[in-house]
């Protein structure tokens, strides 16, 4: 179980090779941005509703990282762990604020203003991925967090354990259960048989 998922994890989602040996500082910030933006954005997209909110939060993550850049110590944690720790805090703050105030997401308007319909060849794939994101959205926040860290973030179970405070073995079990639930949600929505 954990071995299978770990194998997937190692399949190219470790630290991007372009910045692996460069310390994160002002001179390499742009490279880190390019390398980590997709992972952070996808992670946040797993955690929150739509693209507009994800845009807002990922911007907040990088702004916080920039503001604290002088305090970042690579000896304490790799850049990936540091950035994802900031992302988790930003998402947590957002969810907490969302519980206090009900906001209408700009994504609703964005869907209304959707330009021309997409080409036929992408429709099926879009629907599948839309269904996948919807299914992820029906998981608990902890399951979304773990799936995001594991697959969008590409972190090992050990790093996830360090980020979340869970034990390494517990992370493996919870990720596996989250995948099972995701599969059930996909089956319920009719995406998979």
């Amino acid at each position: 179980m954990a071995g299978v998922i770990g194998e997937v994890n190692r399949r190219g989602l470790d630290d991007p090779s372009s910045v692996r040996h460069e310390p994160l500082d002002a001179s390499t910030f742009g490279e880190y941005y390019d390398a980590y933006f997709p992972r952070l954005y996808t992670y946040i997209r797993y955690r929150v509703g739509g693209p507009a909110v994800a845009d807002e939060l990922v911007a907040q993550v990088f702004e916080n990282a920039l503001a604290r850049l002088n305090r970042y110590n690579p000896d304490l944690a790799p850049a990936a762990v540091w950035l994802f720790a900031i992302a988790r805090n930003v998402v947590t703050d957002h969810l907490r604020a969302q519980r206090r105030h009900r906001w209408v997401s700009l994504d609703v308007i964005r869907d209304w203003l959707s330009p021309s319909p997409p080409p036929d060849e992408t429709i099926v794939a879009r629907e599948l991925h839309g269904a996948l994101l919807d299914a992820i959205g029906r998981l608990t926040q902890r399951e979304r967090d773990l799936i995001g860290l594991k697959f969008a973030g590409g972190h090992t179970n050990r790093r996830i354990a360090a980020l979340t405070g869970l034990s390494e073995s517990n992370v493996a079990v919870l990720v596996h259960r989250a995948l099972q639930r995701l599969r059930s949600e996909l089956a319920r929505s009719g995406v998979v048989p």
């Binding site: 742009g30 997209r45 693209p51 002088n70 080409p119 991925h129 998979v192």
Partner: protein, 214 residues
């Protein structure tokens, strides 16, 4: 899912994989593991960051802010420190240090430093000052006069006769030396034996010895 461009070619592979997720029997451990692996593969390949409408503009904005911060840092640099607030904090710290050293130096160099013995517990200086102000101003009789009321009563049987009182005497009076029971004064039936203390000519201390029933 705003535009088709965020779906890369690997997503079509994901579509094939989707069809295989539900293919097995979830009650079979092998099938379950395979489905989990396929789902994990799909999730690991999924990159929705192309949805973002601000990716490039955010990058440009952040790098511009970084550059402007560095420019500001280089124009006000006082040596190392952090690029945002380090210079100000370092400067403030140095100023506080210099001010503290000057203040402490001023305290020790200043002539009005009588607070120092009071602080370190040397009462001798203050006592000497007090003694010098107690010079007698008028002539009195040779006979010592009890001027203060000692808290002594000799009406009680249990009185053991030890107390203290102040006597005012003339400075030229030949005071008896200590342990000389030469001068006696009668006060309420008690005999007063007084002695002269060193360094306090005008205010000798007197030991009252009571005699119960006297």
């Amino acid at each position: 899912m705003t535009g088709p461009e965020w779906l890369s070619t690997k997503d079509s592979r994901g579509a094939d994989l989707f069809a295989r997720i539900g293919g097995g029997d979830p009650r079979q451990p092998g099938e379950d593991a395979e489905a989990a692996q396929i789902l994990a593969t799909i999730l690991a390949d999924l990159d929705v960051s192309a949805e973002s409408a601000i990716r490039d503009s955010l990058r440009a904005d952040l790098l511009e802010r970084l550059r402007s911060t560095e420019r500001r840092h280089s124009s006000t640099a006082v040596g190392g420190g952090n690029p945002l607030f380090g210079n100000g904090i370092a400067l403030l710290g140095r100023l506080c240090l210099i001010a503290g050293v000057m203040l402490v130096g001023l305290f020790f160099v200043s002539p009005a430093r009588s607070w120092i013995p009071a602080l370190v517990g040397e009462p001798g200086v203050l006592m000497a000052t007090q003694t010098s102000t107690m010079t007698p101003t008028r002539t009195v009789s040779l006979t010592p006069t009890l001027v203060s009321t000692a808290s002594i009563t000799n009406q009680h049987e249990e009185f053991d006769g030890i107390g203290r009182a102040d006597l005012r005497v003339a400075p030229s009076a030949p005071l008896p030396t200590p342990e000389t029971p030469g001068a006696r004064n009668q006060h309420g039936g008690s005999s007063v034996v007084w002695s002269r203390e060193s360094g306090a000519e005008s205010t000798p201390q007197v030991t009252l010895t009571g005699q119960p029933g006297a």
